[in-house]
Symmetry: C2
Subunit: 276 residues, 2 copies
Amino acid sequence: MAGDPRPIGVFDSGMGGLTVLRALVARLPEEQFVYLGDTARLPYGTKSPDTVRAYALQATHLLLSEDVKMVVIACNTASAVALDALGEALAPVPVIGVIEPGARAGVAATRSKRIAVLATESTVKGAAYAQAIHRLMADAHVEQMACQVFVALAEEGWADTRATTAAVEDYLQPLFAQADAPDTLVLGCTHFPVLATAIQRHVGDAITLVDSAETTAAAVAETLAGLDLKASADSGTRAIRFFATDSPERFARIGAIFFGGAIDDEAVTLVDLKMA
Amino acid sequence: MAGDPRPIGVFDSGMGGLTVLRALVARLPEEQFVYLGDTARLPYGTKSPDTVRAYALQATHLLLSEDVKMVVIACNTASAVALDALGEALAPVPVIGVIEPGARAGVAATRSKRIAVLATESTVKGAAYAQAIHRLMADAHVEQMACQVFVALAEEGWADTRATTAAVEDYLQPLFAQADAPDTLVLGCTHFPVLATAIQRHVGDAITLVDSAETTAAAVAETLAGLDLKASADSGTRAIRFFATDSPERFARIGAIFFGGAIDDEAVTLVDLKMA
């Protein structure tokens, strides 16, 4: 079997999606990747669904022009509002978002059917996780909590500082102080895996943390196998290329926090999507 | 003397500028105000100077159409890159930014000529405060520090929580641990006055905190008097109108933190600057 050597495209509004890329890279050692962060236009979370769809279409068309065999939408907002439109526009290239895998993993993990979703304000407002969980488990009790400060803490690289510990306590204490506390916590923002150690320490080992980066990587592996799109072991040495719509220097610097390893800013290409 | 009853226009990329409006309202009880927050396009800090200038021109033209007698640029990024262009475009209406008044107050307050500026990453990178301070005091020693997490803490309304205390310590300890520590701290971001109590407690009363909201209000009062633009006591009851380019509901809710008082979302008009 020769395998399909084409790269997998990964798209995010910024750098948070690099936690998803990190999980993909770890799980799929044979695959090549192209990552695009629309850093000039972030955050998507405060923009209208129409605007987010238009931006996501521009971005994923750039990935198509790089001959990707699959597109991963590593962005909660774009997954929530643009996944169907992107699936249609990019067909036959398969498109996978982060919300469905995160919801599926949350449902698989819970014993008490009480799941909490930590996310950004806009994701909470759109309720996409709650809907996805209820489609899979109609009687699940879902609590959504906006943890906006976590985004800034993760971007500052404060994975486990005193401020992070205090913010985790301030957000999560009310959630776990109640009688019917959740037994499963879905990290519904691509920034939050950076803070996983601090969160797990606060909630204790009895609570399962579900990281949509890991579960999305699992869904991608499954889809690759199902559609016979896997690369073979002799597809060449690992190559990851990065595109950003603003400052490659900042992308490489802040991105390293999310990717969990250095990014050479020479490997980051500046691209103008309005011109693409 | 009849006085000039026209309103003062205040412009910011979002809601942080409401700390400046709050200071203006307190200092100028006779004046009327129109505030515009370009919330759909924030943050300005990550955008190119050309884009920020274009956005700021659109925004301030809307204020002109409301017949304002003066425009206050209550946004550090726009003050840093667009003040000259706005001054030309809006003449003869005077335009005042936040950086010059903040720098002037810092220079007036320091005894040791050692001033620290706390700001956002983009303001630090642009070094507008350092330049403004050096124009006034060539031998000043200026340290700039990006405190990005403060923005999220302020927007969350966490004025003085444990997480805020810890973040203040993490950012400021290195600054004050050195032998020649600053004696003056310029709050170079419109969000930061919300955290002033926590910051002052950490640094102690010997350090002067300079709030560019207060000092900008003083500069506005001075300019009004100088140009004979003051309203008289009988200019009518106080009216403050708000315009936002996205979600009036969110503007009223988060804005109340910065304004230091409730904002009725009925008083917030949604406006599309691209169409204006």
